[in-house]
Symmetry: C2
Subunit: 186 residues, 2 copies
C-alpha cells in the first residue's frame, strides 16, 4: 500500500514530500497550475519534479491517492449498510460526482484506464466495482456477466461531464441508463 517512496535516498524522500506539499496547495488554488511553477514553489528543479512524477496525472495521483483510496474503501461499508443495488448505485453516484467536481480525479481515472504508469491505481477501483457488481448479481438485482472494467469506463465517461446543473442531470440519466443496461430493476 505504502509501496511508493520506498528505499529512497533521504534527500530524495524529502524532496518528494516537499513536491507533494507544494502540489497540494498549488492544485487546490488552480487545478491547472503549471508543473514548472509547482517545482519552483517546492524549491526543486523541474528535472526533480519529473523524475518523481513522470506526468501531471502521476503527480495528481500522489496528491489525491488518499482520496481515491477512500473512495475505493467506501464500497464495503455501503454494502454492509444497504441492499446491494442501492449500495452500487450510490457508490457510482458519489464516485462520478466526485470526479466531476475535482477534475484531477477524473483525469486520474482516465489515465488509469489508458496509461501504463498509473495502471496500478486501476485495479483497486476495478475491484470495488467488481465487489459491488458481484453483490448485486448475488441478490439477483442485476443480470450476471457484466464486466467491471467496462462499467468503470462508463463511470470515467460520466466524470467528464461538466458539474453544471444540466451536466449533473445528464449524468444522472446516463447512470440510470447504464443500470438498466445491467438489467437492474427500477
Amino acid at each position: 500500500m505504502a509501496d511508493d517512496a520506498e528505499k529512497l535516498r533521504a534527500d530524495a524522500r524529502a524532496n518528494r514530500d516537499r513536491i507533494l506539499d507544494a502540489a497540494r496547495e498549488a492544485l487546490a488554488a488552480d487545478p491547472e497550475a503549471s508543473l514548472h511553477s509547482i517545482a519552483k514553489a517546492a524549491g526543486v528543479g523541474q528535472g526533480t519534479l519529473y523524475r518523481h512524477f513522470a506526468t501531471r496525472e502521476a503527480l495528481a495521483l500522489g496528491v489525491y491517492r488518499k482520496d481515491v483510496d477512500a473512495m475505493v474503501a467506501l464500497a464495503p461499508g455501503l454494502l454492509a449498510r444497504q441492499p446491494p443495488l442501492q449500495a452500487f448505485r450510490s457508490w457510482c453516484d458519489r464516485f462520478a460526482q466526485y470526479g466531476r467536481r475535482k477534475r484531477a480525479i477524473a483525469n486520474i481515472v482516465h489515465a488509469a484506464m489508458t496509461e501504463q504508469d498509473v495502471r496500478e491505481t486501476y485495479w483497486p477501483m476495478v475491484d470495488a466495482v467488481r465487489r459491488l457488481m458481484a453483490a448485486c448479481e448475488g441478490s439477483g438485482e442485476i443480470a450476471p456477466g457484466a464486466d467491471p472494467e467496462d462499467f468503470l469506463q462508463l463511470l470515467g465517461c460520466m466524470m467528464q461531464i461538466a458539474p453544471t446543473p444540466e451536466g449533473e442531470a445528464r449524468a444522472r440519466r446516463l447512470l440510470a441508463l447504464a443500470f438498466r443496461g445491467l438489467g437492474a430493476k427500477e
Copy 2:
C-alpha cells in the same frame, strides 16, 4: 452548408485552402503533427494558421468535415434499408468505430460537445441520433423518452477506447449495454 470561407479576401481564401491541403497531408502522416509544422508546410506564418483555425480541433474539423457530414448523412440511408433498431445499431457501431480509428474524429466529437467554436458541428450529429432514435421509438423497439445528446455523449466515450482487439470487444459490449439501457429487445 458551404458557409465557411465565405466573403473572404482572395488571398485569405487561397491561404485557407493551402493550409487545409497541407494539414490533410500532414495529419494523414502523423495525427499529432505540430501546428507549427503544418503552417510551415503550407507556406504561411503561424498567425495565419491560428487566425483561420483557432484550435487543433477546428483545423481537424476543416479537414474532416466531409467525413463527418458523410457519417451524419448515412443515417437516412440506413433507415431506408433496414429495420429501425438495426439501422440505429449499425450506425452507432460504424460511427464509434470510425472515431476509434481516426483519433482526430473522436477529438472533434468530444470538442463539439464541450467547446463553443466547434459546437455547430454538434447539431447535425445530434440530429442523426435523434432521427434514428425516433424511428426506433416509433416501431416500439426502444423505450421512448431517451435524450439523443445523452446517447451521443456515450458514443463519444466509446470513441476514446483504443482500437485494439480487446478495445473493440469492449466497445461492442458497451454499445450492447447502452442499447439494453434504452430498452432495446435483444
